[in-house]
Protein backbone atom coordinates (compact mmCIF):
# COMPACT_ATOMS: atom_id res chain seq x y z
CA UNK A 1 0.00 0.00 0.00
CA UNK A 2 1.06 3.55 -0.62
CA UNK A 3 0.10 6.99 0.42
CA UNK A 4 -0.20 9.32 -2.52
CA UNK A 5 0.33 12.86 -1.39
CA UNK A 6 -0.44 15.63 -3.86
CA UNK A 7 0.12 19.36 -3.51
CA UNK A 8 -2.37 21.13 -5.76
CA UNK A 9 -3.91 24.51 -6.47
CA UNK A 10 -6.89 25.09 -4.16
CA UNK A 11 -9.50 25.61 -6.83
CA UNK A 12 -8.66 22.22 -8.35
CA UNK A 13 -9.91 20.26 -5.35
CA UNK A 14 -13.33 19.39 -6.70
CA UNK A 15 -11.97 18.16 -10.00
CA UNK A 16 -9.38 16.00 -8.29
CA UNK A 17 -11.93 14.54 -5.94
CA UNK A 18 -14.24 13.71 -8.83
CA UNK A 19 -11.43 12.10 -10.75
CA UNK A 20 -10.51 9.92 -7.79
CA UNK A 21 -14.09 8.98 -7.13
CA UNK A 22 -14.48 7.79 -10.68
CA UNK A 23 -11.45 5.55 -10.08
CA UNK A 24 -13.23 4.01 -7.13
CA UNK A 25 -11.21 5.84 -4.49
CA UNK A 26 -13.74 6.91 -1.92
CA UNK A 27 -11.66 8.36 0.86
CA UNK A 28 -9.12 11.12 1.12
CA UNK A 29 -7.82 13.71 3.52
CA UNK A 30 -7.14 17.34 2.67
CA UNK A 31 -4.92 19.85 4.44
CA UNK A 32 -4.51 23.56 3.81
CA UNK A 33 -0.83 24.25 3.33
CA UNK A 34 1.43 26.97 2.02
CA UNK A 35 3.83 26.20 -0.77
CA UNK A 36 7.15 27.65 -1.74
CA UNK A 37 8.54 26.92 -5.18
CA UNK A 38 9.16 28.36 -8.57
CA UNK A 39 5.82 30.04 -8.77
CA UNK A 40 6.50 33.56 -7.70
CA UNK A 41 4.44 35.00 -4.90
CA UNK A 42 3.27 38.56 -4.68
CA UNK A 43 4.04 41.74 -2.84
CA UNK A 44 1.76 43.13 -0.19
CA UNK A 45 2.08 46.70 0.91
CA UNK A 46 0.65 47.89 4.17
CA UNK A 47 1.08 51.61 4.66
CA UNK A 48 4.43 51.70 2.99
CA UNK A 49 5.82 48.52 4.54
CA UNK A 50 6.37 46.10 1.66
CA UNK A 51 6.32 42.38 2.22
CA UNK A 52 7.33 39.85 -0.41
CA UNK A 53 5.02 36.94 0.19
CA UNK A 54 6.59 33.87 -1.32
CA UNK A 55 4.32 31.26 0.27
CA UNK A 56 1.21 30.54 -1.70
CA UNK A 57 -1.95 28.78 -0.59
CA UNK A 58 -2.06 25.16 -1.74
CA UNK A 59 -3.97 22.06 -0.75
CA UNK A 60 -2.32 18.83 0.23
CA UNK A 61 -4.32 15.71 -0.60
CA UNK A 62 -3.45 12.40 1.00
CA UNK A 63 -4.90 9.16 -0.32
CA UNK A 64 -4.03 5.73 0.91
CA UNK A 65 -4.33 3.22 -1.92
CA UNK A 66 -3.33 -0.32 -2.78
CA UNK A 67 0.09 -0.47 -4.44
CA UNK A 68 -1.31 -1.54 -7.78
CA UNK A 69 -3.57 1.48 -7.96
CA UNK A 70 -0.82 4.01 -7.55
CA UNK A 71 -0.19 4.50 -11.25
CA UNK A 72 -3.81 5.21 -12.05
CA UNK A 73 -4.18 7.50 -9.09
CA UNK A 74 -1.13 9.53 -10.06
CA UNK A 75 -2.36 9.83 -13.60
CA UNK A 76 -5.82 10.93 -12.74
CA UNK A 77 -4.63 13.48 -10.20
CA UNK A 78 -2.14 14.83 -12.71
CA UNK A 79 -4.78 15.32 -15.34
CA UNK A 80 -7.35 16.83 -13.02
CA UNK A 81 -4.96 19.21 -11.28
CA UNK A 82 -3.08 20.44 -14.32
CA UNK A 83 -3.51 24.00 -15.58
CA UNK A 84 -0.17 23.99 -17.35
CA UNK A 85 1.06 26.98 -15.41
CA UNK A 86 3.88 27.15 -12.92
CA UNK A 87 2.71 26.15 -9.47
CA UNK A 88 0.47 23.26 -10.42
CA UNK A 89 2.18 21.25 -7.71
CA UNK A 90 3.69 17.87 -7.06
CA UNK A 91 2.69 14.31 -6.38
CA UNK A 92 4.71 12.28 -3.88
CA UNK A 93 4.31 8.59 -3.15
CA UNK A 94 5.42 7.17 0.18
CA UNK A 95 5.22 3.57 1.38
CA UNK A 96 2.40 2.59 3.70
CA UNK A 97 3.01 -0.30 6.08
CA UNK A 98 -0.32 -0.68 7.78
CA UNK A 99 -3.79 0.75 7.65
CA UNK A 100 -6.58 0.39 10.20
CA UNK A 101 -10.20 1.52 10.13
CA UNK A 102 -10.84 2.76 13.64
CA UNK A 103 -14.56 2.10 13.68
CA UNK A 104 -14.32 -1.60 12.84
CA UNK A 105 -10.71 -2.48 13.42
CA UNK A 106 -10.46 -3.72 9.81
CA UNK A 107 -6.89 -3.88 8.57
CA UNK A 108 -4.89 -2.84 5.53
CA UNK A 109 -6.69 -3.40 2.22
CA UNK A 110 -10.01 -3.68 4.04
CA UNK A 111 -9.43 -0.42 5.77
CA UNK A 112 -9.10 1.84 2.77
Amino acid sequence: MKIVMAIIKPFKLDEVRDALTSLGVHGLTVTEVKGYGRQKGHTEIYRGAEYAVSFLPKLKIEVAVAADQVGKVIDSISVAARTGQIGDGKIFVVPLDHAVRIRTGEKDGEAL
Binding site: E44, I45, Y46, R47, G48, A49, Y51, V53
Partner: protein
Protein backbone atom coordinates in the same frame (compact mmCIF):
# COMPACT_ATOMS: atom_id res chain seq x y z
CA UNK B 1 -30.28 78.61 37.11
CA UNK B 2 -31.69 82.01 36.35
CA UNK B 3 -34.41 82.42 33.77
CA UNK B 4 -31.78 83.68 31.35
CA UNK B 5 -29.80 80.55 31.94
CA UNK B 6 -32.51 78.17 30.83
CA UNK B 7 -30.96 75.54 28.65
CA UNK B 8 -32.34 74.60 25.27
CA UNK B 9 -33.25 70.95 25.17
CA UNK B 10 -32.20 70.74 21.54
CA UNK B 11 -28.67 71.63 22.57
CA UNK B 12 -28.80 69.14 25.41
CA UNK B 13 -30.00 66.42 23.09
CA UNK B 14 -27.22 67.05 20.59
CA UNK B 15 -24.52 67.27 23.26
CA UNK B 16 -25.62 64.04 24.93
CA UNK B 17 -25.48 62.39 21.53
CA UNK B 18 -22.10 63.92 20.75
CA UNK B 19 -20.73 62.67 24.03
CA UNK B 20 -21.61 59.09 23.40
CA UNK B 21 -20.33 59.38 19.85
CA UNK B 22 -16.89 60.28 21.15
CA UNK B 23 -16.98 57.23 23.41
CA UNK B 24 -17.90 55.21 20.31
CA UNK B 25 -14.74 56.57 18.70
CA UNK B 26 -12.58 55.10 21.47
CA UNK B 27 -14.40 51.86 22.08
CA UNK B 28 -14.83 50.11 19.85
CA UNK B 29 -13.72 52.53 17.09
CA UNK B 30 -10.09 53.31 17.81
CA UNK B 31 -9.52 49.96 19.50
CA UNK B 32 -10.58 48.15 16.32
CA UNK B 33 -8.77 50.49 13.99
CA UNK B 34 -5.55 49.80 15.87
CA UNK B 35 -6.31 46.21 16.78
CA UNK B 36 -6.86 45.15 13.19
CA UNK B 37 -3.39 46.39 12.32
CA UNK B 38 -1.45 44.27 14.78
CA UNK B 39 -0.75 40.55 14.58
CA UNK B 40 -3.47 38.36 16.01
CA UNK B 41 -1.29 37.41 18.97
CA UNK B 42 -1.38 41.04 20.11
CA UNK B 43 -4.99 41.84 19.29
CA UNK B 44 -6.29 41.65 22.83
CA UNK B 45 -3.44 43.70 24.21
CA UNK B 46 -4.45 46.61 22.03
CA UNK B 47 -8.13 46.24 22.86
CA UNK B 48 -7.33 45.96 26.55
CA UNK B 49 -5.06 48.97 26.54
CA UNK B 50 -7.59 51.22 24.86
CA UNK B 51 -10.49 50.06 27.02
CA UNK B 52 -8.47 50.33 30.21
CA UNK B 53 -7.26 53.82 29.37
CA UNK B 54 -10.83 54.92 28.81
CA UNK B 55 -11.91 53.57 32.19
CA UNK B 56 -8.96 54.82 34.21
CA UNK B 57 -9.09 58.30 32.71
CA UNK B 58 -12.83 58.45 33.33
CA UNK B 59 -12.22 58.02 37.04
CA UNK B 60 -9.38 60.53 37.06
CA UNK B 61 -11.41 63.05 35.13
CA UNK B 62 -14.24 63.29 37.64
CA UNK B 63 -11.89 63.27 40.63
CA UNK B 64 -9.44 65.97 39.58
CA UNK B 65 -8.97 66.08 35.82
CA UNK B 66 -11.93 68.26 34.94
CA UNK B 67 -10.97 70.67 37.64
CA UNK B 68 -7.36 70.91 36.49
CA UNK B 69 -8.47 71.57 32.94
CA UNK B 70 -11.46 73.81 33.42
CA UNK B 71 -11.09 75.95 36.50
CA UNK B 72 -9.05 79.02 37.21
CA UNK B 73 -5.63 77.89 38.37
CA UNK B 74 -4.77 81.06 40.20
CA UNK B 75 -1.09 81.89 39.82
CA UNK B 76 -0.61 79.04 37.40
CA UNK B 77 -3.72 79.88 35.43
CA UNK B 78 -1.88 80.37 32.17
CA UNK B 79 -0.81 76.74 32.33
CA UNK B 80 -3.23 74.76 34.44
CA UNK B 81 -6.39 74.95 36.53
CA UNK B 82 -6.93 74.31 40.21
CA UNK B 83 -8.83 71.89 42.40
CA UNK B 84 -12.02 73.91 42.94
CA UNK B 85 -14.18 71.44 41.10
CA UNK B 86 -12.41 68.27 42.20
CA UNK B 87 -14.83 65.41 42.85
CA UNK B 88 -17.32 67.25 40.68
CA UNK B 89 -18.13 69.88 43.24
CA UNK B 90 -20.05 71.90 40.70
CA UNK B 91 -23.45 72.34 42.34
CA UNK B 92 -24.39 76.05 42.45
CA UNK B 93 -24.99 77.37 45.90
CA UNK B 94 -28.18 76.02 47.38
CA UNK B 95 -28.81 73.86 44.34
CA UNK B 96 -27.88 70.44 43.14
CA UNK B 97 -25.41 69.14 40.64
CA UNK B 98 -28.07 68.89 37.94
CA UNK B 99 -28.71 72.62 38.10
CA UNK B 100 -25.16 73.64 37.29
CA UNK B 101 -24.76 75.12 33.83
CA UNK B 102 -21.79 75.78 31.55
CA UNK B 103 -21.47 78.60 29.06
CA UNK B 104 -21.22 77.93 25.33
CA UNK B 105 -19.68 80.14 22.65
CA UNK B 106 -22.93 82.02 22.29
CA UNK B 107 -23.88 84.57 24.83
CA UNK B 108 -26.70 83.49 27.13
CA UNK B 109 -26.73 79.99 25.73
CA UNK B 110 -26.04 77.36 28.35
CA UNK B 111 -25.89 73.64 28.70
CA UNK B 112 -26.02 71.61 31.91
CA UNK B 113 -22.47 71.55 33.23
CA UNK B 114 -22.64 67.77 33.63
CA UNK B 115 -23.06 67.51 29.87
CA UNK B 116 -19.97 69.61 29.35
CA UNK B 117 -18.05 67.54 31.91
CA UNK B 118 -19.07 64.31 30.19
CA UNK B 119 -18.33 65.61 26.71
CA UNK B 120 -14.87 66.83 27.68
CA UNK B 121 -14.27 63.58 29.56
CA UNK B 122 -14.50 61.64 26.34
CA UNK B 123 -11.75 63.81 24.87
CA UNK B 124 -9.51 63.10 27.82
CA UNK B 125 -10.25 59.39 27.37
CA UNK B 126 -9.39 59.13 23.70
CA UNK B 127 -6.21 61.21 23.65
CA UNK B 128 -3.96 58.86 25.63
CA UNK B 129 -5.61 55.95 23.86
CA UNK B 130 -4.34 57.33 20.57
CA UNK B 131 -0.78 57.03 21.82
CA UNK B 132 -0.81 53.26 22.26
CA UNK B 133 -0.57 52.72 18.52
CA UNK B 134 2.98 53.97 18.55
CA UNK B 135 4.43 51.27 20.79
CA UNK B 136 1.88 48.53 20.08
CA UNK B 137 3.03 44.91 20.34
CA UNK B 138 5.77 45.50 22.90
CA UNK B 139 4.78 47.56 25.93
CA UNK B 140 4.05 46.17 29.36
CA UNK B 141 0.47 46.62 30.48
CA UNK B 142 1.47 47.85 33.91
CA UNK B 143 3.78 50.42 32.35
CA UNK B 144 1.01 51.57 30.08
CA UNK B 145 -1.38 52.17 32.96
CA UNK B 146 1.17 54.06 35.00
CA UNK B 147 2.20 56.15 32.04
CA UNK B 148 -1.42 57.00 31.30
CA UNK B 149 -2.09 58.28 34.78
CA UNK B 150 1.01 60.46 34.71
CA UNK B 151 0.54 61.65 31.18
CA UNK B 152 -3.00 62.92 31.51
CA UNK B 153 -2.03 64.67 34.72
CA UNK B 154 1.09 66.41 33.56
CA UNK B 155 0.55 66.73 29.84
CA UNK B 156 -3.09 66.47 28.81
CA UNK B 157 -4.87 68.50 31.48
CA UNK B 158 -2.42 71.41 31.23
CA UNK B 159 -2.57 71.56 27.45
CA UNK B 160 -6.37 71.32 27.46
CA UNK B 161 -6.37 74.18 29.96
CA UNK B 162 -3.99 76.28 27.91
CA UNK B 163 -5.96 75.88 24.71
CA UNK B 164 -9.58 75.78 25.82
CA UNK B 165 -9.96 77.32 29.22
CA UNK B 166 -11.89 80.55 29.03
CA UNK B 167 -14.90 81.87 30.89
CA UNK B 168 -16.87 82.02 27.68
CA UNK B 169 -18.81 84.89 26.11
CA UNK B 170 -21.15 84.77 29.01
CA UNK B 171 -18.55 85.72 31.55
CA UNK B 172 -17.43 88.33 29.13
CA UNK B 173 -20.90 89.79 28.77
CA UNK B 174 -21.29 89.81 32.48
CA UNK B 175 -18.11 91.70 32.95
CA UNK B 176 -18.98 94.08 30.15
CA UNK B 177 -22.36 94.78 31.62
CA UNK B 178 -20.90 95.40 35.00
CA UNK B 179 -18.43 97.78 33.48
CA UNK B 180 -21.13 99.56 31.53
CA UNK B 181 -23.24 99.84 34.64
CA UNK B 182 -20.38 101.28 36.59
CA UNK B 183 -19.61 103.71 33.81
CA UNK B 184 -23.03 105.29 33.96
CA UNK B 185 -25.36 106.34 31.14
CA UNK B 186 -22.89 107.60 28.60
CA UNK B 187 -23.01 105.08 25.76
CA UNK B 188 -19.65 105.65 24.17
CA UNK B 189 -17.92 105.64 27.48
CA UNK B 190 -19.71 102.45 28.41
CA UNK B 191 -18.67 100.74 25.23
CA UNK B 192 -15.08 101.69 25.73
CA UNK B 193 -15.18 100.52 29.29
CA UNK B 194 -16.79 97.30 28.20
CA UNK B 195 -14.08 96.64 25.69
CA UNK B 196 -11.43 97.33 28.28
CA UNK B 197 -13.07 95.11 30.80
CA UNK B 198 -13.25 92.34 28.26
CA UNK B 199 -9.59 92.60 27.36
CA UNK B 200 -8.65 92.72 30.97
CA UNK B 201 -10.81 89.75 31.74
CA UNK B 202 -9.55 87.72 28.85
CA UNK B 203 -6.03 88.48 29.85
CA UNK B 204 -6.57 87.22 33.33
CA UNK B 205 -8.97 84.31 32.93
CA UNK B 206 -7.93 82.18 30.02
CA UNK B 207 -5.29 79.59 29.20
CA UNK B 208 -2.06 80.68 27.58
CA UNK B 209 -2.81 79.59 24.04
CA UNK B 210 -6.30 80.97 24.23
CA UNK B 211 -4.82 84.30 25.21
CA UNK B 212 -2.46 84.13 22.25
CA UNK B 213 -5.51 83.78 20.04
CA UNK B 214 -4.62 80.34 18.78
CA UNK B 215 -7.55 78.65 17.09
CA UNK B 216 -8.38 75.01 17.74
CA UNK B 217 -12.04 74.22 17.21
CA UNK B 218 -12.14 70.61 18.31
CA UNK B 219 -8.71 69.56 19.45
CA UNK B 220 -6.06 69.53 16.73
CA UNK B 221 -3.36 70.56 19.18
CA UNK B 222 -4.86 69.26 22.41
CA UNK B 223 -5.66 65.83 21.07
CA UNK B 224 -3.78 64.99 17.90
CA UNK B 225 -0.47 66.82 17.98
CA UNK B 226 -0.29 66.12 21.67
CA UNK B 227 -0.84 62.38 21.30
CA UNK B 228 1.17 62.15 18.11
CA UNK B 229 4.39 63.52 19.53
CA UNK B 230 3.98 61.51 22.73
CA UNK B 231 3.66 58.44 20.54
CA UNK B 232 6.80 59.20 18.59
CA UNK B 233 8.81 59.69 21.74
CA UNK B 234 7.45 56.41 23.05
CA UNK B 235 8.29 54.53 19.86
CA UNK B 236 11.83 55.85 20.04
CA UNK B 237 12.29 55.07 23.71
CA UNK B 238 10.90 51.54 23.50
CA UNK B 239 12.80 50.70 20.34
CA UNK B 240 11.72 48.64 17.38
CA UNK B 241 9.70 45.47 17.52
CA UNK B 242 11.55 42.19 17.10
CA UNK B 243 11.51 41.33 13.43
CA UNK B 244 10.78 44.89 12.32
CA UNK B 245 11.87 45.34 8.72
CA UNK B 246 12.40 41.60 8.30
CA UNK B 247 9.32 39.57 9.24
CA UNK B 248 5.84 39.88 7.87
CA UNK B 249 4.22 42.15 10.45
CA UNK B 250 1.05 42.34 8.41
CA UNK B 251 -2.28 43.49 9.86
CA UNK B 252 -4.20 40.52 11.15
CA UNK B 253 -7.60 41.83 10.14
CA UNK B 254 -8.12 44.80 7.87
CA UNK B 255 -11.81 44.13 8.29
CA UNK B 256 -11.50 45.27 11.90
CA UNK B 257 -9.45 48.25 10.82
CA UNK B 258 -12.12 49.25 8.36
CA UNK B 259 -14.86 48.93 10.98
CA UNK B 260 -12.76 51.01 13.31
CA UNK B 261 -12.09 53.69 10.73
CA UNK B 262 -15.78 53.90 9.88
CA UNK B 263 -16.81 54.23 13.51
CA UNK B 264 -14.12 56.85 13.99
CA UNK B 265 -15.68 58.82 11.17
CA UNK B 266 -19.21 58.44 12.47
CA UNK B 267 -18.14 59.31 15.99
CA UNK B 268 -16.02 62.22 14.87
CA UNK B 269 -19.16 64.19 14.12
CA UNK B 270 -19.71 64.20 17.85
CA UNK B 271 -16.10 65.22 18.35
CA UNK B 272 -16.09 68.10 15.86
CA UNK B 273 -19.70 69.21 15.53
CA UNK B 274 -20.22 68.57 19.24
CA UNK B 275 -17.39 70.98 19.98
CA UNK B 276 -19.73 73.81 19.07
CA UNK B 277 -21.67 72.91 22.25
CA UNK B 278 -24.92 73.82 20.49
CA UNK B 279 -27.10 72.56 17.65
CA UNK B 280 -27.20 75.34 15.10
CA UNK B 281 -25.95 76.32 11.67
CA UNK B 282 -22.34 76.44 12.79
CA UNK B 283 -22.70 72.90 14.08
CA UNK B 284 -23.93 71.91 10.65
CA UNK B 285 -20.89 73.56 9.10
CA UNK B 286 -18.57 71.62 11.39
CA UNK B 287 -20.36 68.45 10.36
CA UNK B 288 -20.15 69.25 6.68
CA UNK B 289 -16.44 70.01 6.95
CA UNK B 290 -15.92 66.77 8.80
CA UNK B 291 -17.62 64.99 5.94
CA UNK B 292 -15.87 66.52 2.99
CA UNK B 293 -12.34 66.85 4.38
CA UNK B 294 -12.48 63.14 5.13
CA UNK B 295 -13.73 62.27 1.67
CA UNK B 296 -11.03 64.42 0.12
CA UNK B 297 -8.19 62.98 2.19
CA UNK B 298 -9.33 59.39 1.61
CA UNK B 299 -9.51 59.94 -2.13
CA UNK B 300 -6.17 61.78 -2.14
CA UNK B 301 -4.32 58.96 -0.36
CA UNK B 302 -6.06 56.36 -2.55
CA UNK B 303 -4.96 57.97 -5.79
CA UNK B 304 -1.52 58.88 -4.50
CA UNK B 305 -0.92 55.26 -3.56
CA UNK B 306 -2.37 54.03 -6.82
CA UNK B 307 -0.02 56.30 -8.73
CA UNK B 308 3.09 55.60 -6.66
CA UNK B 309 2.70 52.00 -5.52
CA UNK B 310 0.56 50.67 -8.33
CA UNK B 311 -2.43 49.58 -6.30
CA UNK B 312 -5.13 51.44 -4.41
CA UNK B 313 -5.45 49.79 -1.02
CA UNK B 314 -8.20 49.85 1.56
CA UNK B 315 -5.71 50.49 4.32
CA UNK B 316 -4.42 53.47 2.39
CA UNK B 317 -7.86 54.90 1.86
CA UNK B 318 -8.95 54.58 5.46
CA UNK B 319 -5.62 55.94 6.67
CA UNK B 320 -6.30 58.90 4.44
CA UNK B 321 -9.76 59.26 5.91
CA UNK B 322 -8.32 59.39 9.41
CA UNK B 323 -5.66 61.87 8.30
CA UNK B 324 -8.43 64.04 6.91
CA UNK B 325 -10.42 63.81 10.10
CA UNK B 326 -7.37 64.79 12.10
CA UNK B 327 -6.53 67.72 9.86
CA UNK B 328 -10.05 69.13 9.80
CA UNK B 329 -10.46 68.89 13.56
CA UNK B 330 -9.04 72.31 14.48
CA UNK B 331 -10.57 73.85 11.35
CA UNK B 332 -14.01 72.28 11.46
CA UNK B 333 -15.86 75.31 12.78
CA UNK B 334 -13.65 77.88 11.07
CA UNK B 335 -13.14 76.81 7.46
CA UNK B 336 -15.75 76.67 4.71
CA UNK B 337 -16.51 73.36 2.95
CA UNK B 338 -14.30 74.12 -0.03
CA UNK B 339 -11.46 75.06 2.29
CA UNK B 340 -12.00 71.82 4.16
CA UNK B 341 -11.71 69.89 0.90
CA UNK B 342 -8.41 71.54 0.11
CA UNK B 343 -7.17 70.79 3.61
CA UNK B 344 -8.24 67.18 3.22
CA UNK B 345 -6.50 66.76 -0.12
CA UNK B 346 -3.27 68.14 1.29
CA UNK B 347 -3.48 66.02 4.44
CA UNK B 348 -4.10 62.86 2.42
CA UNK B 349 -1.10 63.37 0.18
CA UNK B 350 1.32 64.66 2.81
CA UNK B 351 0.54 61.95 5.35
CA UNK B 352 0.81 59.31 2.62
CA UNK B 353 4.19 60.63 1.67
CA UNK B 354 5.26 60.81 5.29
CA UNK B 355 4.38 57.30 6.39
CA UNK B 356 5.47 55.57 3.20
CA UNK B 357 8.68 57.45 2.58
CA UNK B 358 9.92 59.75 5.32
CA UNK B 359 9.20 57.27 8.08
CA UNK B 360 10.93 54.45 6.26
CA UNK B 361 13.90 56.67 5.66
CA UNK B 362 14.13 57.54 9.33
CA UNK B 363 13.73 53.93 10.36
CA UNK B 364 11.90 54.31 13.66
CA UNK B 365 9.11 51.88 14.50
CA UNK B 366 5.93 53.82 15.20
CA UNK B 367 3.88 50.64 14.88
CA UNK B 368 0.61 52.14 13.74
CA UNK B 369 1.74 55.57 12.55
CA UNK B 370 0.47 57.67 15.37
CA UNK B 371 3.00 60.32 14.56
CA UNK B 372 2.66 60.16 10.80
CA UNK B 373 -1.10 60.46 10.86
CA UNK B 374 -2.07 62.27 14.05
CA UNK B 375 0.87 64.58 14.58
CA UNK B 376 1.59 65.38 10.95
CA UNK B 377 -2.11 65.66 10.13
CA UNK B 378 -2.68 67.69 13.27
CA UNK B 379 0.05 70.17 12.39
CA UNK B 380 -1.29 70.58 8.86
CA UNK B 381 -4.71 71.22 10.30
CA UNK B 382 -3.56 73.66 12.94
CA UNK B 383 -1.60 75.72 10.46
CA UNK B 384 -4.27 75.44 7.79
CA UNK B 385 -6.90 76.69 10.20
CA UNK B 386 -5.04 79.98 10.49
CA UNK B 387 -5.40 80.44 6.77
CA UNK B 388 -8.75 78.88 5.95
CA UNK B 389 -10.61 80.78 8.67
CA UNK B 390 -10.37 83.80 6.43
CA UNK B 391 -13.76 84.76 5.06
CA UNK B 392 -11.99 85.47 1.80
CA UNK B 393 -11.40 81.74 1.53
CA UNK B 394 -14.92 80.81 2.62
CA UNK B 395 -14.11 80.63 6.31
CA UNK B 396 -16.14 81.99 9.18
CA UNK B 397 -13.67 84.60 10.31
CA UNK B 398 -12.97 85.00 13.99
CA UNK B 399 -15.58 86.45 16.27
CA UNK B 400 -14.32 89.50 18.07
CA UNK B 401 -16.36 89.16 21.19
CA UNK B 402 -15.46 92.65 22.35
CA UNK B 403 -17.45 94.17 19.50
CA UNK B 404 -20.40 91.85 19.72
CA UNK B 405 -22.94 94.46 20.62
CA UNK B 406 -25.88 92.62 19.16
CA UNK B 407 -24.75 89.33 20.47
CA UNK B 408 -24.20 90.67 23.92
CA UNK B 409 -27.52 92.43 23.97
CA UNK B 410 -29.70 89.80 22.44
CA UNK B 411 -27.90 86.63 23.12
CA UNK B 412 -28.56 85.37 19.64
CA UNK B 413 -26.71 82.32 18.50
CA UNK B 414 -24.98 83.82 15.48
CA UNK B 415 -22.70 86.73 15.91
CA UNK B 416 -23.85 88.85 13.03
CA UNK B 417 -23.23 91.98 15.03
CA UNK B 418 -19.64 91.15 15.77
CA UNK B 419 -16.73 92.30 13.73
CA UNK B 420 -13.80 90.09 12.94
CA UNK B 421 -10.64 90.00 14.97
CA UNK B 422 -8.78 88.11 12.25
CA UNK B 423 -5.30 89.56 12.26
CA UNK B 424 -4.59 88.45 8.70
CA UNK B 425 -3.17 85.23 7.36
CA UNK B 426 0.44 85.86 8.19
CA UNK B 427 -0.17 86.86 11.77
CA UNK B 428 -2.68 84.12 12.48
CA UNK B 429 -0.46 81.53 10.83
CA UNK B 430 2.33 82.61 13.09
CA UNK B 431 0.10 82.33 16.17
CA UNK B 432 -0.90 78.86 15.11
CA UNK B 433 2.72 77.91 14.59
CA UNK B 434 3.62 79.10 18.08
CA UNK B 435 0.80 76.99 19.51
CA UNK B 436 1.99 73.94 17.59
CA UNK B 437 5.55 74.39 18.77
CA UNK B 438 4.58 74.87 22.38
CA UNK B 439 2.49 71.70 22.24
CA UNK B 440 5.30 69.73 20.58
CA UNK B 441 7.77 70.83 23.20
CA UNK B 442 5.53 70.44 26.23
CA UNK B 443 4.24 67.05 25.22
CA UNK B 444 7.50 65.83 23.70
CA UNK B 445 9.67 66.72 26.67
CA UNK B 446 7.02 65.89 29.22
CA UNK B 447 6.35 62.48 27.71
CA UNK B 448 10.05 61.65 27.53
CA UNK B 449 10.43 62.35 31.24
CA UNK B 450 7.37 60.29 32.09
CA UNK B 451 8.47 57.32 29.99
CA UNK B 452 11.80 57.43 31.76
CA UNK B 453 10.15 57.42 35.17
CA UNK B 454 7.89 54.54 34.21
CA UNK B 455 10.87 52.62 32.86
CA UNK B 456 12.65 53.01 36.17
CA UNK B 457 9.63 52.01 38.20
CA UNK B 458 8.18 49.03 36.34
CA UNK B 459 10.07 48.76 33.04
CA UNK B 460 8.56 49.78 29.72
CA UNK B 461 9.05 46.75 27.56
CA UNK B 462 8.24 43.07 27.83
CA UNK B 463 10.99 40.48 27.42
CA UNK B 464 11.81 39.14 23.97
CA UNK B 465 10.22 35.79 24.77
CA UNK B 466 6.98 37.38 25.83
CA UNK B 467 7.03 39.63 22.82
CA UNK B 468 7.43 36.58 20.57
CA UNK B 469 4.70 34.67 22.35
CA UNK B 470 2.44 37.68 21.91
CA UNK B 471 1.16 40.06 24.52
CA UNK B 472 -2.28 38.45 24.61
CA UNK B 473 -1.04 35.30 26.24
CA UNK B 474 1.96 36.77 27.97
CA UNK B 475 0.30 39.77 29.57
CA UNK B 476 -3.38 38.89 29.65
CA UNK B 477 -3.51 35.09 29.64
CA UNK B 478 -6.04 34.96 26.81
CA UNK B 479 -6.17 34.41 23.08
CA UNK B 480 -8.27 36.63 20.83
CA UNK B 481 -9.45 33.83 18.60
CA UNK B 482 -10.16 30.15 19.13
CA UNK B 483 -11.64 29.29 15.78
Amino acid sequence: MTAAQAVNKGDVSWMLTSTLLVLLMSVPGLALFYGGLVRSKNMLSVLTQVFAIVCVVGLIWVTYGYSLAFTNGGALNAFVGGFDKAFLKIAPEGKTIIDAVAATFSNNVYIPELVFVAFQMTFAMITPALIVGAFAERMKFSALLLFTVLWVTFVYFPIAHMVWYWGGPDTLALEAYKAALAAGGDASKAAAAAADAVSAYNAKDAGLLYQWGALDFAGGTVVHINAGIAGLVGALMLGRRIGFGRDLLAPHSLTMTMIGASLLWVGWFGFNAGSNLEANGLTALAMMNTFVATCAAAVAWLFAEWAVKGKPSLLGMVSGAVAGLVAVTPASGFAGPMGAIVLGLIAGVVCFFFVTTVKNALGYDDSLDVFGVHCVGGILGALGTGILVSSGLGGTDIVDYSTCKAAIDNGVATFSGCSSSYPGMGAQFFTQLKAVLLTLVWSGVGSAILYKIVDLVVGLRVTADREREGLDLAEHGERAYNM
